[in-house]
Subunit: 193 residues, 2 copies
DNA sequence: CGCGACGTTGATTTGCCTCAACGATTGTGG
DNA sequence: CCACAATCGTTGAGGCAAATCAACGTCGCG
């Protein structure tokens, strides 16, 4: 396993010394998943925090009518996990599935706790990551309660141009909270103007 | 200013020693706001992270039609701030307003950075706080894209029973993303069964 | 007292969903 | 290599959820 992708990522937040990089090598493991394979299934405990080195994944819930709702996508340099399950040990209600065949570097929850205790610097890094994720999530909440589906779709195109080519419109529809049929109608309206 | 509410709060996460408590005393200041006063107005930079000792506040955005949308409420032992503005120094697009006359303990952004550097323990505490907030925010996103207004309202009653008595239905409507008129219709339906 | 915020009602309109159907594309197994 | 199923994007008809707008009574507050 090549530690560089992780080292590069963390170094953008805080430079790491050799000891820290060496420790990362001992606790992260590489995992390859093919399209449509799962990193996590509802009912299981999320034991891994996954850093995406290559590929694309999505995390979603299934409601009581059997419909899927995308909470998050993750491509290169994103992290993906069910935090509630990972940190609190609860059975997850989410699925993490590979949209493309992917390579992820994974750390077990207990090893992440060790990392925080042994190298407090990572508390700081993960605090900042979490802050950024929370800022984004709060913006999404405000969007959901204040905007129409068309506005949410345009905003998605704006915000995630790199994702748009890699995932289907059905998946985007599920992320912004509309049916594929209605997203299709939105797209038609948009080309007409 | 009585440091105990803060000390009690932090101690639930990690015990503090005397040095740390003393430092908190030097960087937090008490602020009293009366009903309808603002801690933050859109356009200003959010300079304070506020811990609520007594009272109730709300944070909201105003859309381009002049409508308000509540992002968050905060009562005793909650924190309230615009994180994007506070951490990145950007002008805020949010308002923080006292729903009741309130007492908050505030820390300036630069002092919070000092706190993180001088006492790394607080990186860990605030990381955990942030994780919990993110978990809640993600659940709210999933609710918004998967549930009806009635389900969201019932869930709000369940999740925040202590808030229900203290804020108006109009404010709750704005939080779950419906008009006050429609919330009224929902409530009528609910009493009939 | 008088004003403004609040909760409510009803009529109408709009945004979005449901369901069924179709062609195009992709993937799979024989 | 072909046949077949599965997935995807799209269209249209109809229906429901929620917004809009206007109006009214109540209450608390200045």
């Amino acid at each position: 396993m090549n530690i560089e992708p992780l080292n590069t990522f963390f170094s953008k937040h805080l430079p790491l010394d050799e000891r820290e990089v060496d420790f990362l090598k001992t606790i992260f493991t590489e995992n390859r998943v093919r399209r449509r394979q799962y990193l996590l299934q509802a009912g299981d405990v999320c034991q891994f925090n996954s850093f995406v080195v290559e590929g694309c994944l999505r995390m979603y819930m299934v409601d009581d009518q059997g419909k899927e709702h995308n909470l998050q996508f993750a491509i290169e340099n994103w992290w993906i996990l069910d935090m509630e399950s990972f940190y609190l040990g609860k059975p997850s209600s989410l699925y993490i599935e590979a949209v493309e065949s992917s390579i992820v570097y994974q750390i077990k929850n207990e090893d992440q706790f060790k990392l925080f205790v042994s190298y407090p610097k990572f508390n700081r890094i993960f605090r900042v990551l979490c802050e950024n994720a929370l800022i984004a999530s709060q913006k999404r909440v405000l969007q959901n309660i204040s905007s129409t589906a068309e506005e949410r779709y345009k905003h998605f195109l704006d915000q995630y141009p790199k994702l748009v080519n890699r995932i289907s419109n059905t998946q985007i529809a599920s992320y912004i909270g509309v049916t594929p049929e209605f997203l299709s109608a939105i797209r038609k309206r948009m080309t007409k103007s």
